[in-house]
Symmetry: C2
Subunit: 126 residues, 2 copies
């Protein structure tokens, strides 16, 4: 079934407290994950919360990567939304799991924009 | 079941071409939707694609709103990820459907960060 976008909904558990609590390390790791996927960065936004937690968004030409961290629970909510056949979001995901030293991970993949059109008419953005 | 976050995965169909093709109107409508939810804006990012389409992200203190539009199909992929009991994402959603003049909509609600902890120990960020 053809769709416009592929959306990975990812739960990372038992991550390293310091790595997911520092905006610097979260930004470095998420931006590297985008590079591994071969997506094109439009704009990154990262924010440090007090006393704990980081939110990060990387808008890419092919949609977005987002992360929200709860270091006190070792938990990260990660979303990888891409379009086009050239983006390797699975490689990004494996890198992110290792980089944050996650003990376990759950992933759900959702197809976005499954339109009632012949597959050859579906073009990807941009 | 208690969770850290509430994530609405929204597909908007048969939207108004001009409204979802102009970065100005998409930004105005999404920022108003955030205000209706009573979330706190950290940073908005909007990008116009050529020849069609807009990507927008609003990082909020309670997670994020994102939108990606395909005007040529009348389609928007919308995500509303919030945490805390004080955010009214359902009101935002109704506003967005009307503002983009969507002919139809599908919504899936996902609980994010369902941790194996007593409910009273789960605190929301920030």
């Amino acid at each position: 079934m053809k769709s416009l976008g592929k959306h990975l909904i990812v739960e990372l558990y038992e991550c390293d407290f310091d790595l997911i609590n520092e905006v610097g390390s979260v930004e470095k790791i998420l931006v590297e994950a985008v590079a591994i996927s071969k997506a094109t960065i439009v704009q990154p936004v990262f924010h440090q919360f007090s006393p704990h937690g980081v939110s990060g968004v990387v808008v890419i030409a092919e949609s977005h990567f987002t992360i929200h961290t709860w270091p006190e629970y070792g938990y990260c909510a990660l979303d990888i939304f891409t379009c086009g056949d050239l983006i390797d979001s699975d490689a990004s995901l494996q890198y992110l799991k290792e980089a944050f030293k996650a003990g376990s991970m759950s992933v759900m993949e959702i197809k976005r924009g499954v339109l009632d059109l012949p597959a050859e008419e579906l073009r990807h953005k941009p």
